[in-house]
């Protein structure tokens, strides 16, 4: 049998899973852990709706082999929350009107989280480049960029 057993930290807790070598991280997280925040938008790496954090860096859930989650720190959009409350980026997306149909929102939140971890005070241009792999059909991106700016501002 070719299945692989993996162990990793998921949204702060140690977990394990058995996955097929051809299975992607996206389906593992959605189907085995019921974390349906990350979405299947294209399955080809072009839309960003499946974005997750691997060891703090944003990556595509659809093109990351589930087997390579082994030993890593994995965070999904569900893991961006601050306990029961929304995390900074999530709250900003809500507040700035950056959520319409919301299908792209988890991917945007994850991409933004990675961006802000690397550039805590990003320029608008850095934000736009940081989100260039996340497609949105509803918002035109304006409010999303604004939300990331808001989330980056230091808390008074």
């Amino acid at each position: 049998m070719s299945d692989v057993t993996i162990a990793f930290r998921l949204n702060g807790r140690m977990v394990s899973a058995t996955v097929a070598p051809t299975q992607a991280a996206l389906e593992c997280l959605r189907d085995q852990f019921a974390l349906t925040g990350a979405k299947l938008g294209c399955g080809e790496g072009e839309c960003g709706a499946c974005a997750i954090l691997l060891d703090g860096q944003a990556a595509l859930g659809c093109l990351t082999p589930a087997a390579d989650l082994d030993g890593r720190e994995v965070r999904t959009v569900e893991g961006l929350r601050d306990g029961p409350a929304l995390g900074r980026i999530q709250a900003a997306l809500v507040h700035e009107g950056a959520v319409q149909c919301g299908f792209c929102t988890p991917g945007m939140a994850v991409a933004a989280a990675a961006l802000l971890a690397e550039h805590p005070a990003p320029t608008v241009e850095q934000i736009r480049r940081g989100l260039e792999g996340n497609l949105c059909r509803c918002t035109g991106y304006v409010a999303i960029v604004q939300a990331v700016q808001t989330a980056a501002e230091p808390t008074p």
Partner: protein, 290 residues
């Protein structure tokens, strides 16, 4: 080998174990998996054994090595972008990385993966060809050093033999005052499969071109050197006649095809436009340096 049967998977802890595993029938290496997973999702894993080499220590790390920069084959595009050695010593590679796919892909896509996937539109490989980069290819029985330009033959076709693995990539450090410019088609800064890309690396003695390497991407089965144009430029000043002749030579030498991303004629026009842009910018660069 029946590709429909699920492959086995290994993530060896050492390079030696990986090379042994790669010697098995139907074995192939994966690093970030950004190319392989597309096929795997479509039910075409194309291998009986998948060997994950992404985290092998021997394939990681970027270091100066005399006149070269030595990079691990599993260096991700994001790591390239963050590294000061690459930014200063191989600006052309840095520029190609900056226009590569998207931030979500850059954290996983690797240098060796881009070379071995051998897409005619591969941006990193194009920069490596323009820079005269080399790769160190290991197997269980030894290793060899190959210029990237000689390693890639055509779409998905390289000189990688069964049981071999690209372990290191070596890039010549840019000379002081070198001019590097990566031009790519499209309305976006990145997230674009190049219809045309042009990678230019030049050095000057005063106004005179001392060395010129121009590589053209997505206009031939593999990244190609615009050798006719390079010959025109060698030891010349970048006056109008020379620039025009080089532009014409590059456009004539490339062999683009019609496809969904553009017609052959438009691609030739872009090659001409990009080569001209690069040469005019190079000329300004040489003038400012004096």
């Amino acid at each position: 080998m029946n590709a429909a049967v699920a492959p086995r998977y290994l993530r060896p802890a050492t390079l030696g174990a990986a090379l042994d595993a790669l010697g098995a029938p139907g074995a192939r290496a994966i690093a970030g998996g950004t190319d392989w997973m597309v096929d795997a999702r479509a039910g075409r894993p194309g291998a009986a054994l998948v060997v994950n080499v992404l985290r092998l220590a021997e394939l990681r790390g970027i270091a100066a090595d005399g006149a070269w920069i030595d990079l691990g084959g599993a260096t991700t595009v994001a790591e390239l972008l963050r590294d000061p050695l690459v930014r200063a010593g191989a600006p052309l590679l840095w520029q190609a990385a900056d226009r590569f796919a998207s931030p979500l892909v850059r954290t996983r896509a690797t240098l060796a993966g881009n070379v071995c996937n051998a897409s005619p539109a591969a941006d990193l490989t194009l920069a490596l060809v323009a820079l005269g980069a080399e790769i160190d290819v290991h197997s269980a029985s030894g290793c060899r050093r190959v210029p990237v330009a000689a390693f890639v033959f055509g779409p998905r076709h390289t000189d990688l033999q069964h049981g071999e693995l690209v372990v290191r990539v070596r890039v010549p450090v840019a000379a002081a005052g070198a001019f590097h410019r990566f031009e790519k088609s499209g309305t976006r800064p990145a997230l674009e499969i190049s219809a045309v890309a042009v990678a230019t690396a030049m050095t000057f003695s005063g106004h005179v071109v001392r060395s010129a390497r121009i590589a053209l991407g997505a206009v031939a089965p593999r990244p190609m050197l615009a050798t006719s144009a390079m010959a025109v430029l060698q030891d010349q000043c970048l006056d109008e006649r020379t620039v025009d002749a080089a532009v014409l030579a590059a456009a004539t030498q490339c062999q683009p095809i019609d496809d969904v991303r553009g017609s052959a004629r438009y691609r030739k026009r872009l090659v001409a436009a990009f080569v001209r842009r690069a040469l005019l910018a190079a000329r300004s660069h040489a003038e400012e340096a004096r």
